[in-house]
Each structure stands twice: as structure tokens, then as C-alpha cells.
């Protein structure tokens, strides 16, 4: 599944001079970091290695098992259980949002792992909504243990309060399925009776039997019209009220008059009934609607996405006592204790302590910020190395984080809508069809009143925008499912259409064009006693306990050494004893004898020293992705203009832009700046694609015409994005742009076919050569052609 130089577990590239292996299935598999090793080992020891055979894409999140199982134990407390679960006798049920799951194999893994716990009565996981509904016996296991199990597998569990667990999408999906079933069963039944009636017309049929068959068809058709076709009627009424009639209007009229006329004919023993046409019509349209809805529902859950950036619980100080409380219970004025590695639960100010804070997800700035008493902190940023107390000023949706969430919501609504264009065109077609049908009705009424109704009905059925309605959603659905095999998850069906005429692609820097995590790019040793490898091992041993992002650059290398007496000096470095020597690792001022090289803002230098002398200098930088330059060159060749907007400082942005050959680069942008930059481009008539991953990118992702986020992006950015890229490469963007163009070519072919068919069939129908049943067959064949053509998209590579 993974090649030799990518991680067996998460498929990220394995950093140079890193050699960690796990034995799975009798072979030594390379992995990229101790975190992946731990998860892979856990999966193997639980006997769940099947996961690696059947997952369809590698684990996209950079995973790391929760180091502190105690974090989850608070969920076993009674008041926590009451807040997050409902109890029924001995069993308790809770809904948990599981961040970081992407495919069916994930849901199988979670299911299988949970079933190994004692007392689990039921575990029901939905990979589309990322929700796990679990019921367990409180006497044998606890919520904390369930959450810890999920966290150990590398997912990010987040228990949800019971009232937020019902999604409107689920109800919509269930209703649509029921309607689809009623329409399809009804269609098949009525078809059977219709065959009997048609053959009866040729061979002669008992008059009583004919009446009986018509009556039965009426009974079956009625629920199809009133239940399955209901959305068309409500849609038509809504369209008329808004003075923008859509496709629903002629559809409703055709269904309505064919049904009423058939009922009348059944009652009066008239010459013809059209129940077969009605049901077939409803069935095809319901299928099209259903496909469209499935594509729409793939989007990431927005409400949970925002909350998942905050911790589940916070430690509140109540009269000097520490108490774990759900974050939702925090109020302004509370004093909260935040440990190293935790994220801040609310906006506020530090009242005691000193630390450095990682705000990169919120601001795009790649360096951490030093904070001490009196400095403000924002919810969602991560406390890196010190323990601090903070005063809560603002909670919930009023925080900076909540504001960014609202900003992206607003930008999403203001997005220029190509969909509306399609709807406007549709209303012209609709008016045309209605006018045509009326003309035909009047003309035939003057020529031959007997045949006027049948012919008008044929015209309405023939002009049915069925193929027209299917042309776009089927192509999008086929392209979407193929793209998801190619590690691209399209969450907004219309994105493909917009992508195909995109002109300008804007990239964020940190985490998008760069890896977003620091790496040791250079090791200089100053002491012949130690090799570069030795120094890295010592540094990795010292940094083991640290949560600082810089530390991650070292801990990616597995160390055979262990450090003792480790002490973390906030804002300076770390010291500890390795192999009997006292080592210092940190900034220039912290390690004696360290001389920083020429100032270079794009890289951080970390020094390693012992016994008052300097031993090694590490250069740590957030490097560009390997395929970034190549991908950008390809995109440029395809004719797109490229830009870079970043919240990071000027030097690193300029350097990245120079390396990649991007002339239009902007630095130090706030989320607002980014959004206005995109809006300016849009005003010049550009169709803008945004690629970004941070929380600060969320508004601009929502405001761009189409947005793409890598899978490791903040969940708020993911929920604002139209397309998610799984895996750790930028190349899928090229595939995506090509696929979008190809999809639209197919859509155009489909539309052309549908229009040619309609235009050639309408005169025949208007002239009275096409009986309604033939019109219905013609309509179905034309729809079939459209569907088969769309399926060609499943061969994109």
C-alpha cells in the first residue's frame, strides 16, 4: 500500500535519516514517526491489521496517540456523563464526533476496536457525518475509556451534547430514500399493468378487466404522485411565489394534468390513461434528485468543526480548587488553568505564568508568540510550554474563533453563484415550454378537440427536462466518486462546474505550500567527538516530553537514548541528562558559546551544548513540499494565474514566492485582508480558486469561487472548503483541474444531446405523431444515454 519512502501508516514521506519500523503481516514496514509507530502497533496488537488491506486511502491526519489518558477520565464523572449522554436503565448512550476519519475502513476499525471493550452494547458509526452513536453498560466500562480508545487509534473524539446530535441532513436523507423507494416500486408495478393494458389494446381485452387494471394503476400511482412527487409540487409553488419558476413548474404541471386526466378517464371510462408515463417520469426525476442530494451531504459538519478546535473540558479554579468542567459551562470572569499542550478554551488574558503560544492556525504566522501576565490569548490557540492561569473574557461564538466562523459563513452566502445562472436559464426554458404547450393545445383544439389533450400531454412529456435535469447531476456524481478514489473529496457538487472555468489560483503558504511542520534541514557539528546523528539522537531524547512545535522536528527521529532530569525552561529551551552528561538545547542565549549565524527569518536555529561549550547547531525550517514547484509549473502551463497570500511575515513569504516563481505574493495578511484580496480579483472578473489550510483561511476559502483544503487543515477550514485533498501532496490539484474541465465537456455533450433530442421530438409530438407512452419511452432512452455518457467519467486518471 505504501512505497518504501512513505510511512506505512499515514503515507507521509519519511524524513531523511529516520529509521523506524513496525512489523506488520510478517514484514518490517517503515513508518515516519514514533506516533505512527505507536498507532500501527496498537492496531496490530488488537488483531486489526485488516484495516491496512481494506482502507481505500492512507490515514490522512498526522496522528499521535494521546499521551495523557487522564484527560479522558473526567468523562466518567457523573456530571460529565449527564452533560454528554442519555441514560436508559443500565445502558447509557452518547454521540461522539470522531475527527480524522475518512473512509469505510476507518469506521470498521473503530467498530471493531470498540467491540473489544467490555460492555459495549451497540456502536453505530457513520463515515459521512463522522458521528459515532455508542451505547454501553455503565457498570463495566466508562465513557472515558471509550474516548481514550478512539484517541489511541489516532482519531480526535469529541463527545457532543445530546441536543446537537440530530442533523437535518439525516432526516432529509431518510425522507429522500423513502420517496425513491415509493417511486421505483410504484413505477415497476404500474409498468406491469400498463403492459397488460397495451397488449389488451392489440389483442382485445375484457372491458371489466381493463377497468380493473386501470383502477389498480390508479391505486398505485396515487402515493407516487402525492408522496414521492411532493417535492416537485412544493418546489414549483416556491418558485412561482419567488417569481422565478424553475424546472419544477412544467414537471408539476405535466405530472398534475396527466394524473388528473388519467383519473378522469378512469372514472368516465375514457379511451386512454397515462399512469405509466406519470410514474416513470416521477421515478427518473426522483433518482436525479437523490444523486444530487448525496453529493451535497458529503460536506463536513460545520457545527462540530468549529467546536472541535476547542478542548472538550477546561480546568476551572473554584476557591483555589481545580475542577474539570465542560467548556460550554465557562463564563466570563472564570479563572482557568491551561497546561502545556492544551489549547485555550476561551478568549481572555493571562493572570499568572509565562509561556509561548502557537497561533499559527489562527494567524498563519509560523513563529510562536511569547506571552506573560496581562497578555491576551485567543480561544483555539495552543499553549506550548508553560502552565498558565487565564481569566476568561469572552466565550463561545463571540470569541475571535467564533468571529472567524461567522465571517466565513457570511462569505459563503455572498459567493458569486453560478448555480443561480443555471436556474435563470431554466426559468426561460420553463416559460418557453409552457408557452409551446399552450399554443399546441389551442391549435389542436381548433383542429381536432378530441386529440388536443393527448397531444398537449405528449408535448409536455417529450419536452420534459429529464435528460436536461439528469445531465449535470449524474456527471458531477460520477466525477465526484472517481475523484474520491484519486484522493480528492468533492463536498460541493457545483464546485466542479466553477473549477472548469477558473482563471486564478491563490495559495496560502504555511501548511499548504509548505509542510506546516518544522523539520531539521541542517545539522552543523562543532565537536569532533559527536556525529550529526549522535546530536540528533540526544536532541530527540531531550525533547521527548515537550509539546513545542520545534520539538516535533526532533521527536520525528526515534532516539535510542533516554534523557533524565528533563527540565523545560519556558521560552528558552530544555535541559536534561543524557549518558551522564548535562545537555542544554535551545536558543542562542540559553546555550553558552552559541553564536547565531547571519539572521535569517525563514529558519530557526537551535543549539545543543554541554559543559559550557557548543556541540551542534540545528537549522529548523518549515520546508516547501517536494512537489510544490512542479505542481505550480504545471498549473501555470495550463493557463492559470497564480498568487500567494499569507499571514506570515515578509521574508519567509518572499523567499517561498521566489523559489516557486510566483510574482504576486502578499505577506502579513489578516483573514479580512485575504478576503478583500480575493474579492478584488473577483471584481476584475477572475474566477478564483483558493487553496488553504488554516483557521485564518476559513473566510477566504468560503469567499473564493471554489476552495480546496488539504486534509490536515483545521476543521473550520475543511468545512469552508469545497474540495478536500487527502494525502500529503499538491499534485491532486492538477488532476482536479483536468477532471473539472473533462467533466464539463461531458456535461456540455449531455446538454447538447438533451436539447437536440427535445428540439427534434417536439415538432413530431406537436404534430400528433407521438402518443404519450412513446414520448415516455423516448424520454427514458434519452435519459439513459445521458447517464451512460456521464459514467465515462469514472475512467479519469
Amino acid at each position: 500500500m505504501a512505497s518504501a519512502d512513505t510511512c506505512f501508516h499515514c503515507a507521509l514521506p519519511i524524513p531523511a535519516n529516520c529509521d523506524i519500523r513496525v512489523e506488520i503481516g510478517g514484514e518490517q514496514r517503515p513508518v515516519c514517526c514514533p506516533g505512527c509507530k505507536a498507532v500501527a502497533t496498537l492496531i496490530r496488537d488488537a488483531g486489526l491489521t485488516r484495516y491496512y488491506d481494506s482502507r481505500d486511502r492512507p490515514d490522512p491526519g498526522a496522528v499521535r496517540p494521546a499521551e495523557d489518558a487522564g484527560e479522558w477520565q473526567v468523562f466518567d464523572r457523573e456530571d460529565m456523563l449527564a452533560a454528554f449522554s442519555t441514560r436508559d436503565g443500565n445502558t447509557t448512550e452518547a454521540t461522539i464526533y470522531v475527527g480524522g476519519m475518512y473512509c469505510a475502513a476507518c469506521s470498521w476499525l473503530i467498530d471493531a476496536a470498540l467491540r473489544k471493550l467490555p460492555g459495549i452494547a451497540n456502536a453505530d458509526i457513520n463515515p459521512v457525518t463522522h458521528r459515532l452513536r455508542v451505547a454501553w453498560d455503565t457498570s463495566s466500562t466508562g465513557l472515558g475509556r471509550i474516548l481514550a480508545t478512539l484517541a489511541d487509534l489516532g482519531y480526535k473524539p469529541q463527545p457532543l451534547a445530546p441536543d446537537s446530535t440530530e442533523r437535518p441532513e439525516r432526516a432529509e436523507q431518510r425522507l429522500a430514500l423513502k420517496r425513491l423507494l415509493v417511486a421505483s416500486l410504484g413505477m415497476m408495478q404500474v409498468m406491469m399493468f400498463a403492459v397488460a393494458l397495451y397488449s389488451g389494446e392489440f389483442q382485445g381485452i375484457d372491458a371489466d378487466m381493463e377497468r380493473f387494471l386501470r383502477l389498480v394503476s390508479f391505486i398505485v400511482t396515487t402515493p407516487v404522485v402525492f408522496y414521492a412527487a411532493r417535492p416537485f409540487f412544493t418546489g414549483a409553488i416556491r418558485g412561482l411565489r419567488a417569481r422565478r419558476p424553475g424546472m419544477d413548474v412544467p414537471v408539476s404541471i405535466a405530472i398534475g394534468i396527466a394524473y388528473v386526466a388519467s383519473v378522469y378517464s378512469t372514472y368516465t371510462n375514457g379511451p386512454d390513461v397515462w399512469y405509466d408515463s406519470v410514474t416513470m417520469f416521477v421515478f427518473f426525476l426522483t433518482v436525479a434528485r437523490y444523486l444530487e442530494m448525496r453529493a451535497r451531504h458529503r460536506s463536513v459538519d460545520r457545527s462540530a468543526a468549529l467546536a472541535s478546535l476547542l478542548p472538550n473540558t477546561a480546568t476551572r479554579l473554584e476557591d483555589g480548587q481545580r475542577r474539570q468542567v465542560p467548556v460550554a459551562q465557562l463564563a466570563a470572569g472564570d479563572i482557568v488553568l491551561v497546561r502545556a499542550g492544551e489549547s485555550f478554551p476561551a478568549d481572555g488574558a493571562i493572570t499568572a505564568g509565562r509561556t509561548s503560544v502557537d497561533e499559527s492556525m489562527l494567524t498563519g504566522e509560523s513563529h510562536s508568540q511569547e506571552k506573560s501576565t496581562g497578555d491576551t490569548v485567543v480561544a483555539g490557540s495552543v499553549n506550548l510550554d508553560g502552565i498558565v492561569e487565564m481569566r476568561v473574557d469572552v466565550t463561545g461564538t463571540d470569541t475571535t474563533l467564533g468571529t472567524i466562523g461567522r465571517l466565513s459563513e457570511r462569505a459563503r452566502y455572498a459567493r458569486p453563484a453560478f448555480v443561480q445562472l443555471a436556474d435563470r436559464v431554466a426559468s426561460y426554458i420553463v416559460v418557453g415550454i409552457l408557452a409551446l404547450a399552450a399554443t399546441v393545445a389551442v391549435s389542436w383544439y381548433l383542429i381536432d378537440p378530441e386529440r388536443a389533450f393527448v397531444i398537449t400531454l405528449s408535448v409536455l412529456v417529450v419536452t420534459c427536462p429529464c435528460a436536461l435535469a439528469l445531465a449535470t447531476p449524474t456527471a458531477f456524481a460520477a466525477a465526484g466518486s472517481r475523484l474520491s478514489d484519486l484522493h480528492l473529496l468533492v463536498t460541493n457538487g457545483n464546485a466542479i462546474e466553477t473549477l472548469s472555468h477558473a482563471t486564478h489560483i491563490v495559495f496560502d503558504k504555511t501548511g499548504t505550500l509548505t509542510r506546516g511542520m518544522p523539520e531539521v534541514v541542517q545539522t552543523d557539528t562543532h565537536d569532533p567527538e559527536f556525529t550529526a546523528q549522535d546530536c540528533l539522537q540526544i536532541a530527540a531524547a531531550l525533547e521527548v516530553a515537550s509539546t513545542h512545535p520545534i520539538a516535533r522536528a526532533f521527536t520525528r527521529h526515534e532516539s535510542a537514548l533516554t534523557a533524565t532530569n528533563i527540565e523545560i525552561r519556558v521560552g528558552a529551551g530544555v535541559e536534561g541528562i543524557v549518558d551522564g552528561r548535562r545537555w542544554l538545547l535551545g536558543k542562542a542565549g540559553f546555550v553558552p558559546g552559541a553564536a547565531p549565524a547571519a539572521a535569517d527569518e525563514t529558519a530557526t536555529q537551535v543549539f545543543l551544548g554541554t559543559g559550557g561549550r557548543i556541540v551542534a547547531t540545528f537549522t529548523i525550517a518549515d520546508t516547501l513540499r517536494e512537489d510544490a514547484a512542479n505542481t505550480l509549473k504545471n498549473l501555470e502551463k495550463m493557463g492559470y494565474s497564480l498568487s500567494l497570500v499569507s499571514g506570515d511575515g515578509e521574508a519567509p513569504v518572499a523567499r517561498a514566492a521566489a523559489t516557486l516563481g510566483i510574482s504576486d505574493a502578499r505577506s502579513s495578511c489578516t483573514p479580512d485582508d485575504k478576503l478583500s484580496r480575493i474579492n478584488a480579483l473577483q471584481q476584475q472578473g477572475e474566477v478564483v480558486v483558493m487553496v488553504g489550510d488554516g483557521i485564518n483561511d476559513a473566510p477566504v476559502l468560503a469567499g473564493a469561487d471554489v476552495s480546496i483544503a488539504p486534509s490536515h487543515a483545521a476543521s473550520l477550514a475543511q468545512s469552508s472548503a469545497d474540495v478536500l485533498m487527502l494525502g500529503d501532496s499538491l499534485h491532486p490539484i492538477v488532476t482536479l483541474m483536468q477532471a473539472a474541465r473533462r467533466t464539463m465537456r461531458i456535461v456540455r455533450q449531455n446538454l447538447t444531446w438533451a436539447i437536440v433530442y427535445n428540439v427534434s421530438a417536439v415538432p413530431l409530438a406537436a404534430a400528433g405523431f407521438v402518443p404519450p407512452w412513446l414520448a415516455a419511452i423516448g424520454m427514458s432512452t434519452s435519459s439513459l444515454v445521458v447517464v451512460l455518457n456521464a459514467l465515462r467519467l469514472s475512467r479519469i486518471r
Binding site: 475502513a105 436523507q173 430514500l177 380493473f212
Partner: protein, 55 residues
């Protein structure tokens, strides 16, 4: 042919039964996840962990 007057209503009753059963199944959440069950059958639930490193 008069047997049809009995058989067709019977078929309709069965149809109504099928629709009722499907509605019940949808309502109880059996159709909420349409992606996992397709691959679930090919996954065996148990695989012995390699205990001595050889297989």
C-alpha cells in the same frame, strides 16, 4: 382470468407490506450509512496477532 381479481389485490397487499418494511428499516437507521456495509463483508472480524513474528 378471474383469478387475477384475487391475485392483483394480493400483490398490492404484499407491495404495501414491502413499503412498510422499508420505511421501518429507514426509520431505524439501517440506511443511514450506505458506504460501510458494502465493504464490511470482505473484512474478517478476527485475525490472530502475529505472536512470534513469523507467519
Amino acid at each position: 382470468m378471474s383469478v387475477l381479481y384475487f391475485l392483483i389485490p394480493l400483490a398490492l397487499l404484499l407491495l404495501a407490506g414491502a413499503v412498510w418494511a422499508f420505511f421501518w428499516a429507514v426509520g431505524s437507521g439501517q440506511f443511514d450509512d450506505l458506504d460501510t456495509p458494502a465493504v464490511r463483508v470482505i473484512m474478517d472480524d478476527d485475525e490472530r496477532p502475529p505472536d512470534d513474528g513469523s507467519k
